[in-house]
Symmetry: C2
């Protein structure tokens, strides 16, 4: 006799008569049937390990205990990966991509930076000899490293970094120094208590001259005792909104001497006598940045998918208020207001992923010509990656919060997993290029292209402006044209503002700064155009069955209309939108909400996110929401006894004191 | 010799030559000179007590230890208030209003609901005899109560609540029962471990008939041992996004018998034989709801003020990137992009407070006629309070996040206090009426008014629509007219949608549901109109010196233009806005950013928020940001030793294992 598996009757009903093959969407998102199989195997391998589960939910632990517990699981995971069939690094990459990592290391992996930044920095910046010296130790986890760039007083602006590495030709050493409090490294993950090595970015001084920021390999802690080496001032920076066991740290140098050979010299060198040898090609690091930003987009999209899955399933289980007087309370998902909250983010998860895939394909295609030394495509790809990272992170963060709020009070509970998902997604607004800084970089590229009539593929529309009648056409292709007109129009408004500021007598940098509000809007419109265009084109180009194509096309249309309605002013201003057009789009929008509503659960099911990865009683596949919420509460240490000791200490004396 | 007080030189410069009297703004916000004096005395009385300070910051503690520590301080605070010159309840109200409470009880006051809900419920719902029995004990804190309404499966919709109280005429008792898991009370603050009494809302059954939701006084725990009484199933619900020591709990009843006299019978009664006596006036509870929602608006505004103060001061201390090539890194506040982030929320703090004050004044004026039995004004005030609560909470939450993100990585740290402020503000989106539910209630009132040409003072504009030329006038008064046109226009669009749905053959409730997106937009426009109008009118009507009036008028203008730019589509659609108008408003907006920028620090100084209340190294008056961040990190238990014990347990074996 097999045990019957519970399934909430409302969810069961939602799943009946699904008109499309969910597995086809799963494969589409995974990038193919085999990828789905591999992912599932890996998930089973990792998630079936009892040792990797939390005895008590993280949020009940003290800060220090959280760190210790995540370090335990992280070390165990490393052992497990070494033994895994697929091999360590590849498995680790897969782990990140699938959101599986955060299912195990919920509060952040204290060893993550070792793989994400330390090893890549060594590979990208170290000579062959340097790699030979450290890379194997790093792969074997005999040393654990991090990457230390940001300082207490300095973030995005590299030239502002204060940490100094001064070459001493007498001893053939660099002397590392933090000349002030603001020069302390601050924020690097893994740095606080975990790493014993770091690639440190510092201003290189030799022969009395500053040659700018360079990477240095620095040992931080004794390999045996883990005690900080002399002159190394290291510690953790304290709790954060999220990712509390990433072990972010600070690091100061009090005249720490390292051998000359610890400058990572793949690109520039300092010779024994102190002569500085310049790098031959400064554009090389762009490639890594494009890669990292694509990963950020994928990461926030996976997180958004989790949030949407949780909120959608919960909204079909939860019944609330009344629609028809006297009827049973309806599923919350049946309210148009709820569909308006959840279906746009649901659609966005496809739009963001397809845009990130598109960028990644462009990058890989370009890589071929780059390997032959042709770097011309890079600035365009770089601009696109900045735009997409800024857009996906900020929109995903807002959408995650909308999903949380759509679950009412229960979304506010830690166990819903929304607070943690938000903590991770919103961090992406700041890291790997703060969004406002990125927007302004993108804007600079757009303005330059528009004025000089020359630029890369992604900004071609600013040069070859479309001619023809400027009527409004509400087919998807017609809507893409509207976005294009808005993107052009907002660049032109920004340029007009720049010229206006110049006429007022502002110096160029002041004219630029005083046009920032307009420049940012223009950059955002450019990014939106890329997402909308990628979404529409990807569906056209893909081999999908008719039923899957039908639902994805509806989601696409919903999404691209949603963004117009959300910022219709731009379309009035730049795309000749008329009141009648807007009202027509409005009614198309609400029709699409109603059309997609019945498939909402089936679509999120097709994300194939295991309960352990969702990590939320609200979002589990079986919809057994209330029992699971209760079971979660039962884990509270405060519920282990009826009366907490603090009653006797504090409350009883108060009750008896007759105030 | 007096010790010299450090002041960051950039902040010092910001404070030079302030053109207005900061104290005048402080008094204006406090509601008069004496109020400022009282507030400062209370702050000194409370904040100077060493016992009320945290030994270790809350965020390092485990969940249970946080609760115990906040309970300790809460009990101490109660003793202190009893001894305070101003007297307990009044002092407590003042404490809440000033944000002082959350400076002491950062994670939430486990005794708060006793004052905020339990005592008011007793006063509002209990007969004179019932008050005599319990009120003194409650005031003296011999008992600690809470208010239990929400259930695990039921929130906003009162009729959906499941908890049953069935009258047994034989024993003259009510029998309380939770007929299912979803019937468990879930969420009430103070309920988990602290309260020993509760006002419980339950469906009253007598003579076989359900008479709807009624309040019952229920003892939960033994007054001596604090053990739950027989049949009472009580515990805490677990950690949340914020307010983790509010002690939110669950509560189930397994046939708990209470005497008939524990039905709170001020409004309706059950006689000994089980006869139910209806309440005479069902509108009475509206008044409390108006009051509570005004308090919510004030609370989120105070929190927003904290966030803006922290971000503004930090942005004037922080130097980043470059504007003019070769120059020193500029203050972040000098970037237009940063001004665009911070000055609208700065202005909003005034707009929200003035609107809440305005509503409060309307309510108090109306109270006179209500005391004479005239309840006609209540529905209008109720609608306005719903609208204002929904608007202030959602906008303030977004603004707080903008402030946090404007501080880059450092805003992500717990010690910045942004995460906690956000946790409190965003909760207000859900409690005291979930915002979407409130918007739809407001919309119902607007649609009714517009269609029936009859309604209260706040919706008069929907009846007596303004005539005259529909040109765009960008004076503040002209802008208010634009908001009015948008409010009218969006109601009309919603009504058209309703009628369209009816024509399609939808039943009324379906027609309503399928117009929800439009209805919500209309309600939001109504709320915005009220804030904008209150802001403009309050400044006109107030006795302010010319310099203070000048800066507040600039803030007002900035704010009302900001909202137009943010949702210009509505103004194109409904207010006849032309492209030229928008471009003109755009340039006025950026001029105002530049004009207000030099006074930003002086304005936040005038909020007069003590460092202890801000609770953030980023926002302290002296601007000693980096030293304070360092000092905060030094408090981390992980920094008390160079090597954490987890190294030996987990990391060292990994390093030595040669994976």
């Amino acid at each position: 006799m097999t045990k019957e598996i519970y399934e909430n009757p409302d969810l069961k009903k939602e799943r009946q008569n699904c008109p499309f093959n969910k597995e086809e969407i799963t494969n589409f998102l995974d990038g193919g049937k085999e990828k789905t199989t591999e992912r599932r195997q890996l998930e089973t391998y990792i998630l079936s390990d009892e040792q990797l589960k939390d005895a008590v939910p993280m949020e009940y632990l003290s800060h220090a205990d959280k760190y210790a517990e995540e370090l335990r699981k992280s070390c165990l995971l490393m052992h497990k990966l070494a033994d895994s069939p697929a091999g360590q690094v590849q498995t680790l990459r897969a782990l990140m991509g699938a959101g599986l990592g955060s299912a195990i290391l919920k509060e952040g992996n204290p060893i993550a930076l070792h793989y994400v930044m330390f090893i890549p920095a060594l590979m990208g910046q170290g000579t062959v000899e340097q790699q030979a010296k450290w890379l194997e130790k790093a792969y074997n986890l005999n040393i654990i490293g991090t990457y230390a760039q940001t300082e207490l007083g300095h973030g995005t602006f590299l030239r502002g970094l204060e940490t100094k590495a001064t070459y001493d030709p007498v001893t053939k050493e660099f002397v590392l120094e933090s000349p002030s409090l603001t020069a302390y490294k601050w924020w690097p993950g893994s740095l606080g208590k975990t790493a014993n090595y770091a690639v440190v970015m510092a201003q290189l001084y030799t022969k009395g001259k500053c040659e700018g920021i360079h990477p240095f390999m620095v040992q931080l802690r004794d390999e045996e005792t883990h005690e900080p080496l002399p002159g190394i001032l290291v510690g953790e920076i304290g709790p954060k909104l999220g990712m509390n066991t990433n072990d972010n740290g600070y690091l100061g140098f009090d005249k720490v001497r390292i051998p000359r050979e610890q400058l990572l010299m793949k690109h520039s060198q300092v010779l024994e006598d102190g002569t500085y040898v310049k790098p031959t090609n400064s554009k090389l690091s762009y490639g890594t940045m494009v890669f990292v930003r694509v990963v950020v987009c994928q990461d926030v999209t996976v997180n958004l998918r989790k949030a949407v899955t949780i909120a959608t399933r919960y909204s079909c289980v939860r019944r609330q208020s009344e629609l028809k007087p006297g009827d049973r309370e309806p599923q919350v998902m049946d309210y148009q207001a709820q569909q308006h909250k959840l279906l746009p983010p649901l659609a966005a998860t496809f739009g963001f992923q397809l845009a990130a895939d598109h960028l990644w394909n462009l990058y890989n295609t370009a890589n071929n010509s780059m390997e032959q030394g042709d770097m011309e495509l890079l600035p365009d790809l770089h601009g696109l990656s900045c735009a997409l990272k800024a857009l996906c992170s900020s929109e995903a963060a807002n959408f995650v919060e909308t999903c949380r709020q759509s679950c009412g009070g229960h979304g506010y509970m830690s166990c819903s997993n929304f607070p943690r998902i938000y903590g991770q997604v919103t961090a992406a607004i700041t890291y790997e290029g703060e969004n406002t800084v990125l927007w302004l970089q993108v804007a600079r590229y757009l303005v330059k292209t528009r004025k000089e009539k020359s630029g890369g593929l992604s900004v071609k529309y600013l040069i070859d402006e479309e001619k023809g009648p400027r009527t409004v056409d509400t087919t998807p292709e017609g809507i893409v044209k509207l976005y294009r007109r808005v993107a052009v129009g907002l660049v032109d408004i920004a340029i007009a503002e720049l010229e206006n500021n110049s006429r007022k007598g502002y110096a160029p940098h002041d004219a630029w700064n005083h046009a920032a509000v307009h420049l940012i809007k223009a950059a955002q419109a450019h990014a939106r155009l890329f997402v909308v265009e990628s979404f529409v084109d990807s569906l056209k180009g893909s081999r999908l069955s008719a039923p899957v194509r039908a639902i994805l096309s509806q989601l696409c249309e919903l999404f691209i209309i949603y963004w117009i309605l959300d910022r219709s002013g731009d379309f009035f201003l730049c795309a000749n939108l008329k009141k009648e057009d807007l009202l027509q789009l409005n009614s198309k929008y609400v029709q699409l909400l109603a059309a997609i509503r019945p498939q909402a659960v089936n679509i999120v099911d097709s994300f194939d996110l295991r309960d352990e990865i969702l990590g939320s009683p609200l979002g589990c596949w079986d919809g057994n929401v209330y029992q699971r919420l209760f079971d979660e509460a039962a884990k509270s240490p405060l519920n282990q006894k009826n009366v907490h000791e603090s009653f006797h200490k504090y409350l009883k004396p108060l009750l008896k004191s007759n105030l």
